[in-house]
């Protein structure tokens, strides 16, 4: 049975037009899913819908065999316990140090012991290469460093599924590599990830499954080799032709 199943998911930002329409997808545990597609195709909205930042209008999300009810506070909390999201703009808490950014949710939300969480936060920050930056505030860090703090912050929640929303799009080109290396290391550990990215070479390298979306719909799903080398649908063929020309 699928670990994460989306069935007919629809969502809109209040307008008449759905940003997600009838999204049906199934993923197994340990999969790394690359979500690709043109801007406005609903990739980021899909991740936001999974963590309840965008309320689904219709459809069903099932995680580990349990249906998520986004209308119920308790169910939403349980879902947020199992998903962790990393945003394009990092969204770090500017008034907190790197260490506190990583440690706050486990202590506050999961009620874990402060000392234990702090020790883990230190090891996570060290793991993403920021062992020297525990007490730095976000505005004292480069974009790449901030994004790595955000990844450590997400990992501190021990998510079943890590959602990465265009995590390198806001970075200077020379900083992209350090963040991708961090994700590669997670990939090696076998953590389940949904990655929205425009770094096609990277998606091709780490993804086990690639989902191509357009105008809120899933157009094609397949292994990277199929998606990039032998696209079935005309829309995807058009898309890959255009990105591979660059």
């Amino acid at each position: 049975m699928a670990f994460l199943a989306l069935d007919g998911l629809c969502a809109s930002y209040g307008g008449a037009k759905d940003v997600l329409s009838d999204v049906t997808l199934n993923f197994a545990k340990g999969e790394v899913v690359g979500l690709i597609g043109p801007s406005g195709s609903g990739k980021s909205s899909l991740l936001r819908a999974l963590v309840g930042l965008l309320k689904p209008r219709a459809g069903q999300v099932t995680l580990g065999g349990e249906a998520v009810d986004y209308g119920s506070r308790q169910s939403l909390r349980a879902a947020r316990d199992r998903f962790a999201i990393v945003f394009q703009q990092y969204n770090l808490f500017q008034n907190m140090t790197a260490l506190r950014n990583v440690a706050i949710a486990p202590t506050l939300v999961k009620k874990r012991k402060a000392a234990e969480v702090e020790a883990e936060a230190r090891s996570l920050l060290t793991k993403v290469g920021l062992g020297e930056k525990f007490n730095a505030y976000p505005d004292e860090l480069s974009g790449g460093q901030q994004q790595r703090v955000a990844i450590a912050r997400a990992l501190a929640l021990h998510p079943d599924i890590l959602l990465l929303d265009e995590v390198t799009s806001a970075l200077d080109p020379e900083l992209v590599g350090e963040v991708l290396d961090t994700i590669r290391a997670l990939h090696a550990e076998g953590i389940t990830m949904l990655i929205v990215s425009h770094e096609m070479a990277f998606i091709r390298e780490v993804a086990t499954t690639v989902v191509f979306m357009d105008q809120g719909r899933v157009v094609e799903v397949g292994p990277p080799a199929q998606i990039f080398d032998a696209p079935q649908s005309p829309r995807l063929r058009d898309f890959t032709a255009r990105i591979l020309r660059h």
Binding site: V51, G52, L53, R77, R80, D81, F83, A84, I85, F87, Q89, N91, L92, F93, Q94, N95, I104, A105, L108, V109, K110, Y137, R153, L157
Partner: protein, 224 residues
């Protein structure tokens, strides 16, 4: 024209002036904190309140920002007694300054209510923060930090503005300087000493506020 500075005739009055400076600080603190409270409530009303309440707040702010403080205090001190409200000069000045500061602090704090960080609130929500936790740990620190410099500025303005109390015979620093001048007629000495006390007072307040800001919010305010 030759003028011989004779500080000896005035120096004996320095403790009297310093005691006046203490009253100056009191007036500044009272009017600032009451004005702050008024401003906070008004800003919340402007952000979330019903239309009639918003209109009332706008009228209040418009009136107090567009009339001179002196006129406002004259009104409180001379007009209110006709309505049976008799106030001491000190109370009239304190109330006038508080209401006036309240108008400016409404405007200042209104901006703070607009400076929400959508992105950080999203992150907090996605990590399972409750609404109260989000407000306490994410929203309020930003508002406080954004508002700290203009609030600190307003406090210094309040310190300077207290000199208006001298007109109502309140014996704060300027009032006492006026008294000493009437006694000694050493105007240059009296008012130069008064100016130095004001400068010392402002520098001390700025320093204290800058240190407090650095400690609370990492605001790297210039002290001088």
């Amino acid at each position: 024209m030759s003028y011989t500075l004779i500080y000896s005739q005035v120096s004996g009055h320095i403790p009297y002036l310093l005691a006046g400076a203490w009253l100056t600080l009191q007036l500044a603190c009272i009017s600032f904190f009451i004005g702050w409270g008024i401003g906070l409530v008004n800003a919340a009303v402007l952000a979330y309140g019903p239309r009639p309440a918003r209109m009332a707040v706008r009228a209040y702010v418009t009136f107090f920002i567009n009339t001179p403080l002196l006129v406002q205090i004259f009104f409180i001190f001379f007009v209110l007694p006709d309505m049976g409200i008799l106030l001491s000069p000190y109370a009239a000045v304190a109330i006038g300054m508080s209401l006036n500061a309240g108008a400016y602090l409404t405007e200042i704090q209104r901006a703070g209510f607009g400076s929400l960080r959508r992105a950080e609130m999203d992150a907090a929500a996605a990590m399972g923060f409750s609404l109260v936790q989000t407000i306490w740990y994410v929203v309020l620190p930003h508002i406080a930090k954004a508002l700290y410099p203009p609030l600190a500025n307003q406090f210094i303005i309040q310190v300077m503005t207290t000199s208006i109390a001298a007109i109502f015979a309140v014996e704060e620093l300027t009032g006492r300087a006026y008294n000493v001048n009437s006694l000694t007629f050493r105007a240059l000495e009296v008012f130069s000493i008064t100016a130095v006390i004001y400068i010392a007072l402002t520098i001390l307040c700025s320093l204290a506020l800058a240190l407090l800001g650095r400690w609370l919010f990492r605001v790297n305010a210039k002290v001088f």
